[in-house]
Amino acid sequence: MATKMHNTPMLDQLESGPWPSFVTGLKRLANDEGKPYADMMKDLLGQLETSYTTRKGYWKGGTVGVVGYGGGVIPRFTELLDENKKPLFPKAAEFHTLRIMPPAGMHYTTDIMRKFCDVWDKYGSGLIAFHGQSGDIMFQGCTTENVQPAFDEMNEMGFDLGGAGPAVRTGMSCVGAARCEHSCANEQRIHRTLVNRFLDDMHRPALPYKFKFKVSGCPNDCMNSIQRADLATIGTWRDDMKVDQAEVKNFVNAKGRKYVIDNVITRCPTQALSLNDDDTLAVDNKNCVRCMHCINVMTKALSPGDDKGVTLLVGGKRTLKIGDLMGTVVVPFMKLETDEDYEALEELAGNMIDFFAENALEHERTGEMIERIGLVNFLEGIGVEIDPNMITNPRMNPYVRMDGWDDEAQKWFERKAG
């Protein structure tokens, strides 16, 4: 029996208005008679309209995957059944997603995008999301039977499944050095180094819970890494920021002194800027915290220094279970230029994942584990020395046993001397 178009009065209301409508797209696919996805999309619209009417979701998970991997496919089976326990919308009864990792920085040729469309028109629903919150391309809507051939074709095109479940997850990196003067690192290399080193932990989920890498090339952190990554890598620099005084003068001349004082000088969080009488800029680089504000505003006049590297922060995550946690500094500065530098980053990330695998409780993120055991135990576990850049302020309560003080003080002086 041919599948008919269902009435969708609720969804139809999302076809009007100036913003591009996903409903119009869904209906275009559903009305594409003769195409393998048309009936699936008719029934998908039927189920979605039901959700809009009842305000309830109707998908459940399950176990669907590809040969050789334990994750990367998000299985979805309908829970909308009739009185005989048969799916109400049978053509969309299986509607799985393949998470496919994009090229680092989300660059595409039109050629590869059309090939994605061809594969998904053949095996899937014709519906693709660029991109999910995980950083994957989400090929949404596939029968169990078609998951394997769809993956095989995309895998042969050079694309691989991303992470799902208790595993190393798909990473994200900003456009960075490809098109941004603020870039302090080779974001795509860091991203690929970290994720591709741990593909076994991505494709065969066996960690306590998820572990995410995100890479931003400067402290503007366009990838939200500090809030969302278990290991955030944020580009920075440690020498003086660069000032083109002629361009500073041009900026002051164009915008006026009041504008510069109100929007640049007094917005510096550590009062490290001062406007000289001749409209040049004085910078107290020792007290600059690399927040990026002045550089963001005066893009021609100011730029990061030459001695670039990254800051590493661990433990960022959203609410569940103990509440939101920011990533916090574990390595204030790390040079990333030579192959040996990258090997050191890989090794450190490996130590973190090993420690997480051995010490986190089930369904506990790295930040929650650190909250439970304390940062010092984590640092000792991964072999990283303490540093005052790791704290906002020292402890404010005396509830700690400190009979090792003399030894610890000695260690500090030895490290300073070394």
Binding site: F130, S183, V195, R267, L361
Partner: protein, 356 residues
């Protein structure tokens, strides 16, 4: 029977084969940028080469016809290359300034808004919702479409004090992330438990362990092993629902929307912050969620009018204080705004700093 095909474990693809040639050639060599108009970035390399990026909003969940249309535009105007931003905007890179306006005209003619740069309201980062999630309290694509229709002008213009980054989440796990404004499901009733199914579907000790307030305990109900919830302790977060679907938390009436403001991931000026609760009890009202849209527009209006240049939402509120925020927006201040979670005392005013 032949052996199954084993995957090529190739990982994250090398971006360089997919990167616009001018970006590839000037990798790491960019000097500065400016924004000639909303939706357009102009980058200049140390070599003197220039590239104009035209940014357009998409519906994120795209049918292949839409994708092919966007690709035809890329072939016609942008050398056959595109990239996407973290907020699902598409970017076209062009090296000839003369192509910028025709590209903008073409995108607009095809229904794609050009904007999302600088101090605009960019596309709302969002989740899956009823379209694909197994635990959603609401839809994502639909709520975002409805809101972006309302905020279209703010996407296509740079009129805000600073950038505004919005998110939506369909449950309290909050996959949408932090935002200047976040619109998130907030359940208000404990889960409804189907005791006939718990023993077969749920790994009970894991479910007990998942609860943030230890409100779940194993129990025999009607002679069957199940779980029970101490409803006095329950915070209605829904954490038990993903590992135990018979503990249904979503409720057509009692799953409400809450609005949070002041999340910021950038280090610019102030340190990164999490967003804070400002409004709740908002009905989950498809297909256009008008009540949520009204609160969002109210907050945006107050921010746009009162904040100084470069102040993000959180920085504006830090300057004017929370009493003034509630006064300017007319939103009610309730006992639920006062944090009582662990560490919540740091959110109290431990000073005599009061604005009169």
């Amino acid at each position: 029977m032949s052996a199954p095909r084993m995957p090529i474990e190739s990982g994250v693809p090398d971006p360089f084969p997919y990167m616009h040639p001018t970006l590839k050639k000037n990798f790491g060599q960019w000097k500065y940028h400016d924004r000639p108009r909303p939706g357009v970035l102009h980058h200049v390399a140390k070599t003197g080469e220039e590239v104009w990026t035209v940014r357009a909003g998409t519906q994120r969940q795209m049918d292949t016809y839409t994708i092919r249309k966007l690709m035809d535009i890329a072939d016609q105007f942008a050398d056959g290359y595109v990239r996407f931003t973290i907020r699902s905007n598409i970017e076209y890179m062009v090296t000839d300034e003369k192509k910028v306006q025709p590209l903008i005209d073409k995108l607009q003619a095809e229904g794609f808004p050009v904007g999302g740069t600088g101090n605009s309201v960019s596309m709302i980062s969002h989740t899956q919702g009823w379209l694909h999630c197994d635990i959603p309290g609401t839809d994502a694509s639909g709520a975002v479409k409805a809101l972006m229709d309302e905020l279209y002008h703010e996407f296509t213009h740079e009129e805000m004090p600073n950038r505004v980054r919005m998110t939506t989440s369909c449950c309290q796990i909050n996959c949408g992330g932090q935002g200047d404004i976040a619109i998130n499901i907030q359940h208000t009733k404990p889960p409804k438990i189907n005791h006939d199914l718990v023993a077969n579907v749920c790994e009970r000790p894991s479910v007990v362990a998942r609860c943030p307030v230890a409100a779940i305990r194993p129990a025999m109900v009607n002679g069957k092993p199940s779980l029970e919830v101490d409803e006095k302790k329950c915070i209605c977060c829904g954490a038990c629902f993903p590992p135990c679907p018979p503990m249904q938390i979503n409720d057509p009436e009692h799953s409400k929307l809450a609005i949070w403001v002041g999340g910021k991931n950038s280090n610019a000026r102030s340190k990164p912050t999490f967003h804070k609760l400002v409004a709740a009890g908002i009905p989950n009202n498809p297909p256009r969620w008008p009540e949520a849209a009204a609160v969002v527009k109210n907050i945006l209006g107050a921010y746009k009018k009162d904040a100084k240049d470069y102040e993000r939402m959180n920085e504006w509120i830090d300057r004017i204080g929370w009493p003034r925020f509630f006064e300017l927006t007319g939103l009610p201040f309730t006992k639920y705004h006062i944090d009582n979670w662990r560490g919540g005392r740091v959110n109290l005013n431990a000073s005599a700093h009061i604005r009169f």
